[in-house]
């Protein structure tokens, strides 16, 4: 998933006609001061670090300024710092507005009904998970006609809006749904949607774009998200690779089997650190690449758990043996293998010739790798 920062989200909002405060994204303190002096960002203004982590307000990553000099100082204080592990490369500078009320609006996927869902609440400004269910209005949207007028009217009534605010919401919902649909978003959320004078303004923007639609949205390929550098390399090689907190590397095939393997390791006191899902492959080179990637993550021990279906055990074994030959001795790690299924006997023989024993039983193989990881500490 591609999570957009607030600033990038608001650029999309502007493009689709969802009203946002006057503002701009800057990358230097000088630029911040210039934007204020030129009047492109009116004073007083708010300066926000463009990072994905929450809790920016409490963490000092949101500041206020009433003069160009203050804007410059605030931007300088935030830019280049690290906020919960993310380096602040951009700040969003925007006009500070007088908030009369805070509302909540979002479009997301309802997996059970397989429909987009519009959620609105008059209790915006707090995490929606903390809002009582009775204060949230939910409507599923049929994707064929899209969001229609009576649904927008229902949302307007649920929020208790009239006059210019009702007209604003009607337009905003139509535009926001269009964004959700056309940009292949998993989530678009405005919290808070503020009542400012006679009008509505999106004071925050949370937009998550779906990875699977990247073939028709190449523009999101450049946007960094919360992947680690190794996860990023894996993505380029089309290997599912997720880094966790522990020290055992897991290579399995198929998401379900990979998750089950992690569960078993944890149950026996192990701490999975990286998991790598080979998926279905009949190319030994992909297996080799996966192993070399795993070596870069420096695990204490590696557990290879393969059930050969589409992927044949001998393919995996050949790929593994090739990888072992090219991992320098200093980066070797204890390896426990369990390969079962299609061409099992051939795979086991190939591994044995390279000095790797395959343990057929999941219980004992998992225990062996946990022991190896602890022993090597």
């Amino acid at each position: 998933m591609v999570k957009l920062t607030e600033g990038r989200g608001k650029e999309l909002f502007r493009k689709y006609g969802v009203p946002v405060p006057t503002g701009t994204i800057v990358t230097s303190a000088e630029e911040a001061e210039r934007s204020v002096r030129s009047g492109s960002v009116p004073l007083p203004c708010v300066i926000k670090a463009q990072v994905l982590a929450g809790g920016r307000g409490k963490g000092g990553a949101v500041r206020f300024a009433s003069t160009p000099e203050e804007a410059r100082a605030a931007a300088a204080a935030i830019l280049g710092t690290s906020f919960q592990g993310e380096t602040v490369r951009e700040v969003l500078l925007e006009q500070k507005v007088a908030i009369a009320r805070e509302l909540y609006v979002s479009f997301a996927l309802d997996r059970s009904q397989r429909l987009p869902m519009l959620m609105t609440s008059a209790r915006g400004g707090v995490e929606i998970e903390t809002v009582d269910d009775s204060a949230i209005d939910r409507q599923t949207i049929d994707p064929f006609p899209g969001l229609v007028a009576y649904e927008r009217r229902k949302a307007t009534r649920a929020l208790g809006l009239t006059g210019t605010l009702a007209a604003d919401l009607d337009r905003l919902l139509g535009n926001l749904y269009r964004l959700f649909d056309r940009e292949d978003a998993e989530l678009v959320e405005i919290n808070p949607l503020a009542v400012v004078g006679e009008h509505l303004l999106a004071l925050d923007a949370k937009v998550i774009i779906e990875d699977d639609a990247s073939f028709r949205h190449p523009e999101y390929a450049e946007i960094r998200d919360d992947r680690t550098p190794l996860e990023e390399i894996a993505r380029e090689k089309e290997i599912a690779f997720v880094q966790l907190d522990g020290n055992i590397g897991v290579i399995a095939n198929g998401a379900g089997l990979t998750m089950a393997t992690l569960d078993v390791l944890k149950e026996f006191g192990g701490a999975p650190g990286v998991f790598l899902d080979l998926g279905g492959t009949d190319d030994p080179k992909k297996v080799t690449e996966a192993f070399l990637l795993m070596a870069q993550a420096h695990p204490k021990a590696v557990f290879l758990n393969i059930f050969g279906g589409v992927t044949r055990c001998d393919t995996v074994a050949n790929g593994l043996v090739a990888a072992l030959a090219s991992v320098p001795a200093s980066e070797r790690f204890p390896l426990v293998a369990r390969i079962r299924g299609n061409n099992e006997a051939e795979g086991i023989a190939i591994l044995r010739a390279a000095g790797v024993t395959s343990v057929p039983d999941l219980r004992s193989s998992a225990q062996a790798v946990v022991a190896a990881a602890q022993g090597g500490a």
Partner: protein, 294 residues
Amino acid sequence: MSVWIDADTRVVVQGITGHQGTVHARAMREFGTKVVAGVTPGKGGSNVEGVPVYDAVRDAVAATGANASCLFVPAPYAKDGLLEAVDAGIRLCVIVTEHIPFHDMLLMYHYARAKGARIIGPNCPGIASPGKAKVGIIPNVVFRPGRVGVISRSGTLTYEIVNGIKEHGLGQSTCVGLGGDPVVGTSFTDALPMFEKDPETDLLVLVGEIGGTAEEEAAEMIQHGFSKPVVAYIAGRSAPPGKRMGHAGAIISRGRGTAASKVEALEKAGARVARFPYEVSEIVAELARTAGRR
């Protein structure tokens, strides 16, 4: 009688001329499935290992009486392929393709539903009934005819579990892989009533994973309208929130979709929930023994 497929299922393979399509069309035939046609636009008139290839699904249906489709069409074209199959009168579409945008799948699901067609998948291993037919990519070797039904959101984990059932001397009636995406054509609650009324199924294995609420909904149905014993396993108990665990649909988001919630719901509904994958077949064997014959 089995679930959704039987010995009369006649399969058209969409994307048969691609590598995956060719390999799995062959495996389906080796399983005993009637693979009657293939479709690849622009390659009509040729054949793949003796299976005639047509330019359009409508032509394949007219010529061969195909009544089920297995789609290996690449993700950017999968929506078109599915709509074509449904419009040609196909009423069972198994989509193996992964990485289909869910916005496409929403349209595909509701379009198929309005026309009375069932989608299994996407990103799924498909459906198989040993001795009758297989539509999809589940490896033939794990099967043996029997009376255990299997519904799963996973691929290889299903093979592992089904293989375990076989190693305990038992077999399967029908095995359905629902797929790992957030939007799937067939969910547990669509499949459960079919297994309830299937006279060839005595016991059901349900393999779920983190993400969404499909297992909780299944538990609700098991409690109020499913009379056969259920053995369940949920993958992802150790998964941290917010990480996508390989499957697009396997993510704990906003506190929903945890393994704990699913295990609790299923246990409350009377299902036996295994802690480890290998325990599933052990429990199945135990239940089969106590029932005397299965």
